[in-house]
């Protein structure tokens, strides 16, 4: 082994000459400090390794140790409530060991090895089990039951089991005898290579929406459980705020939040806020269902590339237990830039804007790991991916945004001018789209109301009409428009300010149930229909505006609390009164 020594060092890229011991994507340990690295190319004369930590202080001639395995994530209880770096090292443990700053070569295990879990064994001696089958369960947090599954592709008979009781992560609780006669001990954890998708039985059609409590998503651009969405936007348009809101309120069972090359203070904010927030359904802290992966922009670039895959693998693991998982990736552009940076160090031929030519295939591999699946044990679970995209210069024609657009079915375009006017969510309703509306029609019909999607269509139509009218207004002012068009502009303002704009800091407005969304739409459209009737009778728009009813409707999102949604039923009468006063 001693001939595997470092030959050259350039940033995070290290080469080894004349080595034959390595295989592609193998995890290796570099140098005396045993820095973690991954083999990314093998040529006869040189093997190239990207190192996941800072290479300062390495010398040529230091040894490189092979591990014989690809980079793997450790999967087991203790993942939830935790915060990891890009290669699944728990940051809290690192902080305990090395203080406020992250030093190199920290070798800490991903899961806490001392905690004792309350395990319940679900198999009997003599049972025949195969990959995916649940052999034990334990309460991981107050919210989530952790189900221990036989690793995929493993099949055999249970030869011995332990009693129910308290066990640590590496304790053997079940022993299997495989077909070839070898014994296979099952502990509370297993490993899985992060760059390989975990196997499933079958992909199922997407037909359940991910309810977010955010009006612009649930009403205008819904996403299905198991779907994919991209949130592109220049800096300052609120990508991160949007991701935070979704992570807080969406009705997934588990949230995997990947902070990929983003700000340190933002991750701290997520940590602080999520531990204070209470899940509206279960009244437990949100952290009970959340795992954070934080690879901030100043942490090593190669680990940034890995962080996305680590997050996905954790998400798939919980999906296999039968949970609905939402993965937030903030931001996939930083991940693409990490690819570019490493590709540049390898002196590969660049394609568009310096990005490597394999960028689109990597992006598609990432988003294709989402889906609503029947898992190996017959349960149903999903992974929904919501990726933020930070286009260079807020220009949506750049390669990452364009390639992402090809592989996602929801596109929530953030708009600078809306953000400047402090209209949040700054999602541009003209540029955004969701391809899931048709798939979800049945669900909305059965679970909300058949008129929900119909009214959605009317809102969309009014907004589109307003966009057209605004072009005229920009040229000649709104005074010259006929009254019915003025009404479209005013009612669209109600939709924009009173409906689409949502205040994340307001206790009621931060999460709005679907039924309230429906009733709010009812009120707005009721106002529109009745005002239109007046105008057709020749009553001027100015008089209708003076009643103040439009402002009253705009404020209904604050005036009607989520506990008293029925108050919205009083609005039609209020509108009738107001309009009657000008007749």
């Amino acid at each position: 082994m001693s001939e595997n020594v470092i030959y050259s060092i350039n940033g995070p890229v290290v080469t080894v000459k004349n080595a034959t011991a390595f295989s592609m994507m193998e995890m290796v340990f570099v140098g005396h400090k045993r820095l973690m690295g991954e083999v990314i190319s093998i040529k006869k004369e040189a093997t190239t390794i990207q190192v996941y930590e800072s290479t300062t202080g390495l010398t040529s001639g230091e040894p490189v140790y092979p591990s014989g395995q690809p980079i793997q994530a450790t999967l087991g209880p203790g993942i939830l409530r935790n915060i990891f770096d890009g290669i699944e090292r728990p940051l809290k443990t690192i902080a305990k060991e090395s203080g406020a700053f992250i030093t190199c070569g920290s070798d800490v295990s991903a899961l806490d090895e001392t905690t004792e879990w309350d395990v319940h064994i679900c198999v009997k001696q003599g049972d025949h089990v195969c990959g995916g089958q649940i052999y034990a369960t334990l309460p991981e947090t107050d919210l989530i039951e952790h189900r221990l599954m036989v690793p995929p592709y493993v099949e055999g008979d249970v030869v011995s089991i332990k009693q129910d009781g308290k066990y640590r992560v590496h304790d053997e609780i079940v022993v299997l005898k495989l077909a070839d006669g070898t014994l296979y001990p099952c502990t509370l954890c297993q490993k899985w290579p992060i760059k390989t998708a975990r196997p499933i039985k079958e992909r199922l059609p997407l037909h359940i929406p991910l309810i977010t409590g955010q009006r612009i998503f649930d009403t205008l651009f819904p996403i299905a459980k198991g779907g994919t969405a991209a949130i592109p936007g220049g800096f300052g348009t609120g990508k991160t705020m949007t991701q935070h809101q979704l992570a807080k309120w969406c009705d997934a069972d588990i949230i995997v939040y990947v902070g990929c090359g983003e700000r340190g203070n933002e991750m701290t904010q997520v940590l602080e806020e999520f531990s204070e927030l209470i899940d509206p359904k279960s009244q437990k802290p949100l952290t009970d269902r959340t795992v954070l992966i934080a690879n901030t922009s100043n942490m090593p670039v190669a680990a940034r590339e890995a962080s996305i895959y680590t997050g996905l693998t954790l998400a798939e693991y919980y999906r296999d237990m039968g949970y609905h998982v939402a993965l937030m990736a903030d931001s996939t552009s930083r991940w693409a830039e990490a690819l570019r940076e490493i590709s540049g160090r390898l002196e590969e031929m660049p394609a568009e804007e310096g990005f490597p030519a394999y960028l689109p295939s990597r992006i598609s591999q990432f988003y294709e790991r989402a889906g609503y699946m029947e898992t190996l044990n017959g349960a149903k679970g999903s992974v929904t991916i919501i990726g933020a995209v930070s286009p260079q210069g807020a220009d949506f024609s750049e390669p990452v945004t364009q390639n992402t657009k090809r592989f996602v079915r929801c596109f929530w375009a953030l708009d600078k001018s809306l953000a400047y006017a402090r209209h949040y969510f700054a999602i541009n309703w003209n540029e955004s789209y969701s391809e899931y509306v048709n798939d979800l029609t049945r669900w909305y019909h059965h679970h909300v109301d058949p008129r929900f999607l119909h009214e959605r269509q009317q809102l969309m139509r009014l907004l589109a009409e307003e966009t057209k009218l605004m072009e005229i207004v920009k040229l000649i002012g709104s005074d010259v428009l006929p009254d019915d068009q003025k009404l479209v502009i005013e009612i669209s303002k109600v939709i924009r300010v009173g409906y689409l704009q949502q205040n994340a800091f307001h206790q009621d407005d931060t999460y709005v149930p679907l039924i309230k969304q429906l009733k709010m739409m009812d009120v707005i459209l009721y106002l529109y229909e009745h005002a239109k009737r007046l105008i057709s009778k020749g009553i001027p728009m100015r008089l209708i505006m003076e009643t103040g009813i439009f402002d009253k409707v705009i404020k209904m999102k604050y005036d009607v609390s989520n506990q008293a949604i029925d108050q919205l039923d009083d609005y039609p009468a209020m509108i009738d009164d107001a309009l009657a006063s000008v007749q």
């Binding site: 040529s60 700053f101 100043n298 830039e337 002196e347």
Partner: protein
């Protein structure tokens, strides 16, 4: 005993290449001695077998293949640190240039720093008072934040930087534990003089540390300047519990130095010729702002950059904006109208202000006020663009009120001059007075209770002496 190497095998720009070097460490410091006896410092940037690439901080002028001896130092670039840093002036590589001799080192730190563990960060919550209304009210600077100023050539960012250094203070304590680290990268000689003179005249030099790299100084030193400055800031903040404001100017010059260095190293360029790792490199600077658990101090950064051709989508402002927590954008139109500081309100943003203002920090009405000012000023822009098409006379009466509000806002609120140092209260009250020029029902971002307390239309009209159209 470390070996000395005689001679070089190649020289290219700021880089020298040595062959047959044993035991070289990546990013290790080297000392290069010329035959004249002159000593220069360098750093190993690439190792390939026994071939080593060294960047020379002071440049390669006068170096030939034969006349040098190279000594490996066995350690990365470090900076000597002690509390005596305050009041001193250093060059870009951290050597004193004020003639007061070397620093007696209390501690030596690797200037590259180490990534801060996110779980050890404290979320920034308290503000720094800059005395500038446009910043204090609308893009409040929070301790531990990184808030860049996007400027352009010919705009008064230097004056603004000086004003910030003179006026910045924290609200609690007696201001004793507040300090400023000022790093000038690639600035012109007379500008550097202006900074130094202004600080001395204002009598603030005793709590300022200066790192100065002039535009004709070696570019490699320029790539070290911000790292030295941030190491000094981290030391003062985390070891001496001081609240440190770091001002870095001009990041554009820094990035250009990085590009020059990268291309002489033969790297594959990314956008506009800047190296592919520009984002990671800038992040390694900006992310050094923050507060850590257990330390009383904080590091706050105001990087200043000049946008080439005023283009905010240029890679430097673009990548900066993605890392920093907001931005303050200077506006050339306002500048031409003689408004100082010419802060372009709409594109400016402070991401952290929502948690660092309001009751207990500034005043309870602050966030309502700033939201309303933003929203109303956005409408001013709509009215103006309409006016430029149909003429001001044709505007509706409400649009005319907005035009008037916009004018008064710019002349009274933004335009405060280089000497004025406004207290927070004064700034907030002025904001309300200006909003009171608008009809009450237009202020739709504010609770009625807050409006009742601060809205006073008559007083506002008298104060700004305007005959409002449409009244």
């Amino acid at each position: 005993m470390r070996l000395q190497y005689l001679g070089l095998s190649e020289i290219n720009g700021p880089l020298i290449f040595l062959d047959d070097v044993d035991d070289a460490h990546y990013e290790e410091m080297v000392e290069i001695q010329l035959s004249s006896g002159e000593k220069r410092m360098g750093r190993i940037v690439q190792i390939e077998g026994k071939r080593v690439v060294v960047q020379v901080f002071e440049g390669t002028n006068g170096i030939s293949l034969q006349n040098t001896r190279t000594l490996l130092q066995g350690r990365p670039m470090e900076l000597s640190l002690s509390k005596e840093l305050l009041g001193r002036v250093f060059n870009g590589a951290g050597k004193p240039i004020d003639g007061l001799g070397d620093i007696y080192a209390d501690k030596r730190m690797d200037i590259n720093g180490m990534p801060l563990n996110p779980v050890m960060r404290v979320y920034p919550r308290n503000y720094i008072n800059t005395g500038i209304s446009g910043i204090d009210a609308l893009t409040t600077l929070i301790r531990g934040q990184k808030l860049p100023i996007f400027s352009g050539s010919g705009m008064p960012h230097n004056e603004l930087a000086v004003q910030l250094v003179k006026q910045a203070k924290i609200s609690d304590g007696d201001g004793k534990n507040f300090g400023i680290v000022f790093a000038a990268m690639g600035v012109k000689n007379d500008v550097a003089d202006y900074f130094k003179r202004s600080f001395i005249e204002a009598g603030v030099m005793d709590h300022v540390v200066m790192f100065v790299n002039l535009s004709n100084d070696p570019i490699i030193e320029r790539t070290l300047t911000p790292r030295c400055a941030l190491s000094a800031a981290e030391y003062l903040a985390y070891e001496h519990d001081m609240h440190i404001l770091v001002i870095l100017t001009d990041i554009t010059a820094y990035c250009e130095a990085l590009r020059e260095f990268s291309s002489s190293k033969g790297e594959i360029p990314g956008r506009k010729g800047y190296p592919g790792y520009l984002y990671s490199d800038l992040a390694s600077l900006y992310e050094r702002a923050g507060i850590i658990q257990g330390a009383k101090g904080s590091v706050t950064q105001i990087p200043i950059l000049t946008m080439p051709n005023d283009d905010i989508t240029h890679p430097i402002p673009d990548l900066t904006g993605y890392i920093t927590e907001g931005q303050i954008v200077l506006d050339r139109n306002l500048n031409q109208m003689g408004i100082y500081p010419p802060i372009g309100v709409l594109p400016s943003l402070s991401r952290l202000m929502k948690d660092g203002i309001g009751e207990g920090y500034t005043r309870g009405d602050h966030s309502a006020l700033s939201n309303q000012l933003f929203a109303s000023y956005a409408k001013v822009q709509d009215a103006r663009s309409l006016a430029s098409v149909i003429g001001e006379d044709e505007l509706s009466s409400i649009d005319k009120r907005y035009m008037e509000f916009g004018k008064q806002f710019e002349t009274h609120f933004l335009n405060q001059g280089i000497q004025a140092n406004r207290e927070m209260e004064e700034t907030l009250d002025l904001g309300w007075a200006l909003l009171s020029l608008l009809p009450k029902e237009e202020l739709d971002r504010v609770d009625d209770a807050v409006l009742d307390r601060y809205y006073d239309h008559e007083a506002a009209r008298e104060r700004f002496d305007t005959s409002m159209a449409g009244d």
